[in-house]
Symmetry: none
DNA sequence: TTCAATGTTGATAGAGTCTTGATGTTTTAT
DNA sequence: ATAAAACATCAAGACTCTATCAACATTGAA
């Protein structure tokens, strides 16, 4: 039983979806215009059904725009059945793509699959992959790029793990220091700067530069 | 670049899948019999492609059995295209269902979507809001337009946040100064004017001009 | 204990940001 | 129409934060 948000310009389709999903005991909010809802409100739902062909801003545009801020699955529902549209939809951040006219049962099965997956506890993965590109082996405490290990020292690895597992979040030097060092240690903050430099140097050997500087704030992995 | 496991009884199909995904820089392990691999080994991969029709235990049986122990996405790949099979596959724990013969590009797009989703950090709803299609992420302290960040410096961002959060309200230069600067700083008011100019310039690159001048009073976001 | 690897520090160069004043432009009031 | 006031623009340089490097300290393994 989830809160599902459906956005479509066609009121009849919205009614159908709503009726159908409410029969499965979901709560459904329907919206005809994206402007009627805020990002925060979207995130309060568990899943977003998004029509593609709408007057003005279409579903692809909306997805591109909101995806970085939305943390729920986005499922496109559209009559556009050509392969390039499917690929586009999935590429810009869609989690699934359902073609109209759709089978009520399949839609429901797909929604259930997505909801189940959201609920699935993220076990402590032995390896996390960042950007589909850099692997971080949390057990072995290693960073691997294209099958090759980028050898890091303990502190260097810890900093990388912290930043990489929270990619997109800015960490201040102080924040990094506190996360990586034990309470009682009292080095100067500038050691963090030095570690960052060495880490960057090592990554640069592989033409990687994942750590960016946010001026006056700190460092960010992106 | 992920470690992908493909299970199918047909060696030819496995070769095809392997070749295709390796072209996309994934690492692919192929298995013809589920008995050749352990649960722990499966979990070391990032995604499982599972054939349905196999002699002995079929894909559905396997999925049912291992799903509670497997934490990676499972994608069925099968020629069984009838609705009830799709629904069954998704119901018993499959995360997606691809029908043979498949489009290489669509398979890849779906795999990418699943991998991206695994990498997606589970975050609280970001406290962000929209205005004129401009997103302001109060947590990340970023301004985003059409998925792209408009890079602002610290002070520039603060001014934008102040104005945008109170859109429709006019702020005097003095008001902006006091809101953005710390007590003890004593710059001239004209620096605010300069900041506004640079902010406008940055927004103008995207054909945006959210900040208007109210003569003799101050600035307003609308 | 010794040596090599790693971690820390401070000095300095470098890059990014902020501020200022001079100057040009637009608006308002007379 | 003109002057005064408010705002916009620009470039220079002051300022702040970051990157780099080399020297020194510490740790850990042989």
């Amino acid at each position: 039983m989830a809160n599902i948000l459906a956005i479509d310009d066609d009121a009849a389709i919205l009614r159908l979806i709503k009726k159908m999903l409410e029969m499965k005991n979901h709560t459904v909010t329907t919206i005809q215009d994206i402007k009627d809802i805020t990002i925060a409100e979207i995130n309060k739902h568990h899943l977003l059904l998004l029509d593609v062909m709408m007057p003005g801003e279409d579903g692809f545009d909306i997805c591109t725009k909101i995806r970085p801020l939305i943390h729920i699955p986005i499922i496109f529902m559209t009559a556009k059945s050509d392969e390039s549209s499917i690929i586009k939809g999935l590429s810009i951040g869609g989690d699934d793509y359902i073609i109209k006219p759709f089978s009520i049962h399949e839609v429901n099965a797909r929604i259930e699959a997505h909801l189940r997956r959201e609920a699935r506890p993220k076990r402590e993965a032995a390896s996390a992959f960042i950007d589909n590109n850099i692997f971080i082996d949390l057990e072995a405490k290693k960073v691997i790029f294209q099958g090759q290990e980028i050898t890091l020292t303990k502190i260097q690895y810890k900093i990388c793990e912290l930043l990489a597992l929270h990619k997109g979040k800015v960490f201040s030097k102080e924040g990094i220091y506190e996360a990586v060092y034990s309470m009682d240690s009292d080095s100067q903050i500038s050691t963090v700067v030095e570690h960052i430099r060495v880490i960057r140097k090592k990554f640069a050997q592989y033409n990687l530069s994942p750590i960016n500087t946010v001026w006056g704030v700190g460092y960010i992995w992106e």
